[in-house]
């Protein structure tokens, strides 16, 4: 069955350079003398260490807990001792360091007790499957590193229309997915079946770019072996960036993911082949994610794919592949189109590291940035843009720091794929300008937010000072009034002397009432009562009870009054704080 494919806008043909690294079969990389595991290997919150320095850990043992929903735990890639928990350089373009757990391997590579293996995944509830995947620390291995279990939620409908397995691997040089599809197609197919079950997917497509015929055949063969007819294997045209999620979804379904939305909003889930294989290993073998295929390529002795434990230093991998040919000029983590150039080689491989690309000074493929000519508005960039933006206008406004206009031209829709930059005849570092503009807008927004908070605080302080002043004045006034009233009363007393009680009808009524009460009391005393003939012990008891009662009454009468005061002051505070933010600053 050949499904209809859709051609996304733009895109570019780039030289592949894939042959240089996909000739050999994949071998495991050597276990290094120390593994440095950053706690932040995924999108979301960094994991939190759950081991201490000096602890003995086993392979696959959890060493850091997921911190919150969008996060992933980290497991020990091999057995050994926790040597340190501290800041180490990580593969981040800024060259910064971050908190890492360092393991000194003991060489035994001894497995911890793993999760129970699932014999039949179809009998497992999808939510339980998600939990296993979550506990295994699986994140998207295509590059972004989004925690996988979140994607495996079919949403309120209980099913998704299309599950796309991404085996397109459109970036030049990278062949780790290619190698995985060639060598572990059966694992990928099993993984697909599990994800299909978890998502209750109606249609499942695995997409492979047509420059990887061996990988495609391998997948086809595995599907035949499983006699699996519900999964379509599709070859898509090789055109960068065909493997980008948005573009791939369009190619397969003809639907565009609306802006500011996720694929799930159009009932599509996209998953990388590597992630799919990891899901298989977690469900069928109970193994957490501790290693991955990494392409080691570029100007090195023997470019190839290695199965690398997370935390392995890139430097050692390069050495294992024959070392750098000449002097290293730049290290790219990722592909040449979207990868990041790093400051040094001694950086650990993490979950999202798919490729290590070495550029030596002798390289003819990579060059240092040339002199940038002015934009001649040739429009090649607009033709190449897979999003359909107008890169030359974005550049123009970013350069002029007219950021509102840049946003008018949808700056934030830019995926930084680098197509415009690649084709630019003027050699303008376009993507760099967009990154600059985005960062600058972000910074300014934060600054305005800060300024707003500061302004609000200042206004509240002013308001509070005023209020206190007013309250003080009010109290003062009341006191004064009370004092005056007292002195006035005294003056009255001295002036008129004691008034005749009987002349006032009110007072006369009160007096009469008091008389009546007295008479009643006297009458009561004469009547026989059940307390008349009490024993001494009984009397004593009554006295005691009375004492307690009065005590409690006194306490009760105090308490509510205090509470009332508290409540009143709270209300006053709430009102004042509600007023301040709405206050016009001009007032």
């Amino acid at each position: 069955m050949i499904s209809k494919l859709f051609q996304f806008k733009g895109g570019i043909r780039v030289p592949h350079y894939k042959d240089i690294s996909n000739q050999e079969s994949v071998t495991p990389a050597k276990i290094p003398s120390r593994l440095v595991l950053p706690l932040h290997q995924h999108i979301g919150e960094a994991a939190e260490p759950c081991v201490n320095i000096g602890d003995q850990v086993l392979k696959g043992q959890k060493i850091a807990n997921a911190n919150g929903y969008v996060s992933a735990p980290i497991h020990a890639p091999t057995s050994g001792i926790i040597e340190d928990i501290g800041d180490y350089p990580i593969a981040h373009p800024s060259g910064m360091s971050a908190l890492c757990i360092v393991i000194q391997p003991d060489g035994k590579d001894q497995w911890a007790e793993l999760e129970s293996r699932a014999k039949d995944y179809t009998s497992i509830d999808p939510s339980h499957l998600r939990n296993i995947i979550r506990r295994a620390g699986i994140v998207g291995l295509g590059g972004a590193g989004f925690p996988t279990f979140i994607k495996h939620n079919p949403g309120p409908n209980g099913s998704v229309d299309t599950l796309i397995i991404n085996g397109s691997e459109c970036e030049p040089y990278i062949t780790c997915d290619d190698a995985l599809m060639r060598e572990r197609a059966d694992e990928i197919v099993c993984g697909i079946l599990i994800i299909k079950h978890a998502l209750n997917a109606k249609r499942v497509v695995i997409a492979v770019e047509d420059n990887k015929p061996e990988a495609f055949q391998s997948i086809k063969k595995a599907l035949d072996e499983f006699d699996e007819k519900t999964i379509e294997a599709v070859q898509i045209p090789t055109l960068y960036p065909a493997g980008s999620e948005k573009q791939l979804i369009y190619t397969i379904t003809g639907k565009e993911v609306p802006k500011n939305s996720l694929p799930i909003h159009i009932s599509v889930v996209c998953q990388n082949v590597g992630t799919t294989a990891a899901v298989y290993r977690a469900i069928h073998h109970g193994e957490p994610l501790i290693s991955r295929y990494v392409t080691i390529t570029g100007d090195i002795g023997q470019p190839k794919n290695l199965e690398v434990l997370f935390g392995t230093p890139i430097e050692e991998l390069v050495e294992q592949c024959g070392g750098v040919k000449g002097t290293v000029r730049r290290l790219i983590v990722g592909g040449p189109m979207m990868g990041f150039a790093m400051h040094q080689l001694n950086l650990p491989v993490i979950k999202t590291t798919n490729c290590v690309l070495i550029d030596a000074e002798s390289s003819k493929v990579f060059r240092e940035r040339e002199f940038a000519m002015p934009c001649i508005r040739c429009g090649s960039c607009a033709d190449a843009c897979p999003i359909g933006l107008v890169p030359q206008q974005l550049y123009w406004h970013s350069k002029a720091q007219e950021f509102d206009k840049a946003q008018d031209y949808h700056l934030y829709d830019c995926i930084e794929c680098g197509c415009c930059d690649y084709v630019c005849p003027s050699k303008i570092p376009l993507v760099q300008y967009y990154r600059f503009a985005k960062a600058e807008i972000w910074k300014r927004e934060q600054e305005t937010q800060k300024a707003d908070t500061a302004r609000q605080r200042h206004e509240f302080k002013q308001f509070r000072v005023e209020r206190e002043k007013a309250e003080k004045a009010e109290k003062h006034r009341q006191k004064k009034a009370a004092l005056e009233a007292k002195t006035n009363a005294k003056k009255d007393d001295t002036k008129d002397g004691v008034k005749d009680d009987k002349s006032d009808p009110k007072k006369a009524a009160i007096l009469a009432a008091m008389e009546r009460a007295k008479a009643k009391k006297a009458e009561a005393k004469t009547k026989p009562q059940n307390t008349d003939n009490l024993t001494d012990a009984q009397k004593h008891l009554i006295e005691k009870i009375d004492a307690r009662r009065t005590e409690r009454r006194a306490a009760e009468s105090k308490l509510p009054a205090g509470k009332e005061d508290e409540r009143r002051s709270e209300r006053r505070e709430a009102e004042s704080s509600r007023e301040t933010p709405n206050k016009d600053p001009k007032e």
């Binding site: 150039a341 400051h343 829709d413 930084e416």
Partner: protein, 343 residues
């Protein structure tokens, strides 16, 4: 030691501004060679004067503006301005016409607007318009094709015509020059003759358009199509210009073919082809969005017809292009493409 850490992407297509510009010049070469064959060697002298003037002015302006000289001098943009302007000036014009026009193009129309990439108007057309208004006699004295005129102008003749004083060359020029097909048509139409009468009797008119010009234009067309195939220019602007010109001229032609020329004549006479493929497609001053380019091209096509038919000048490419250059930024603004995921 810190490694080199530029922003991605880390590698680039093997192209450059000068490659683009040079290809445009290459695409003009076949037409230029035939031009020499039909109208004499004068056009080569024009080209040389224009190129030398353009590069000198470019270097001078870059120096004055304190810019890097070599990258801009070799980018080929001044070269194209020179070539296009030289082809627009009669091949028997005196040297100073070409010099003034080219200098004006480079200094005023290009560098005073900010140099490469910043000029609002097509520099060659600004130079041409200035010359046409300032020196109408020199700018409208065109040689006759060799098929009509037996005096073929060789290197020496052309050199003399370009650099001698006007009085010395006046006679010679009279014998070799004549009205262009568009000129002649305009003047004859004003004498209340019908088009079949005019074109049927004069040797100025060939199969497609003007004698001689039609074949040169065919070669320019071939060059333009080659540029499209090489993705140097997109199909939008040329197609829109030719399409709209053909459409509007067809309407009038079928309404009254005695007073309105055929669409074919419009396309293959005058500077339509070179204008559509080489002048209007100058990326700096044209619209850049796909829809914008089509609107830009339609505007030029319609203006060509209107100016040729009812305007005061026989040909109209320069004015049509300049008028639409003015509209390009606005057209671009209102024809932004819809990005992925936007409704």
């Amino acid at each position: 030691m810190s490694l080199y850490t530029p922003s991605s992407p880390h590698f680039h297509a093997n192209n450059s501004v000068s490659q683009i510009m040079l290809k445009v010049v290459y695409a003009l070469i076949p037409g230029i060679l035939l031009y020499v064959g039909i109208f004499g060697f004068g056009v080569i002298i024009n080209l040389l004067i224009a190129i030398i003037t353009a590069l000198s002015c470019e270097a001078l302006m870059l120096k004055l503006r304190k810019r890097a000289i070599m990258p801009f001098l070799t980018d080929g943009s001044a070269l194209i301005t020179a070539v296009l302007l030289a082809l627009s000036i009669p091949s028997i014009a005196p040297w100073w016409v070409i010099f003034i026009g080219t200098a004006f193009s480079i200094i005023i129309a290009k560098h005073l607007y900010g140099g490469l990439g910043y000029n609002l108007f097509n520099p060659a057309m600004v130079g041409y318009a200035m010359l046409l208004i300032s020196f109408p006699l020199q700018m409208t004295t065109w040689p006759l094709p060799v098929t009509i005129n037996d005096n073929y102008l060789g290197i020496i003749d052309s050199f003399l015509i370009a650099f001698s004083t006007p009085s010395a060359t006046e006679l010679a020029i009279d014998s070799i020059s004549g009205a262009t097909p568009l000129d002649y048509l305009k003047s004859q139409l004003s004498l209340e003759k019908t088009i079949p009468e005019i074109t049927g009797l004069s040797a100025l008119y060939g199969v497609l358009g003007g004698t001689g010009y039609e074949w040169i234009n065919l070669l320019f067309l071939a060059g333009g199509i080659w540029l499209m195939k090489k993705h140097i220019i997109s199909w939008h602007i040329p197609t829109a210009i030719l399409g709209s010109l053909i459409a509007i001229s067809s309407v009038f032609y079928f309404y009254d073919s005695d007073f309105f020329t055929s669409p074919l004549f419009h396309v293959f006479t005058g500077a339509t082809i070179i204008g559509a493929f080489f002048i209007a497609t100058d990326p700096v001053s044209a619209a850049t969005t796909a829809r914008g380019k089509i609107i830009f091209g339609i505007g030029i096509g319609l203006l060509i017809f209107v100016i040729r038919t009812w305007g005061g000048y026989p040909d109209a490419i320069a004015f049509a292009v300049l008028l639409m250059n003015m509209c390009a930024p606005t057209i671009d603004y209102y024809t932004k493409p819809k990005p992925y995921g936007h409704q």
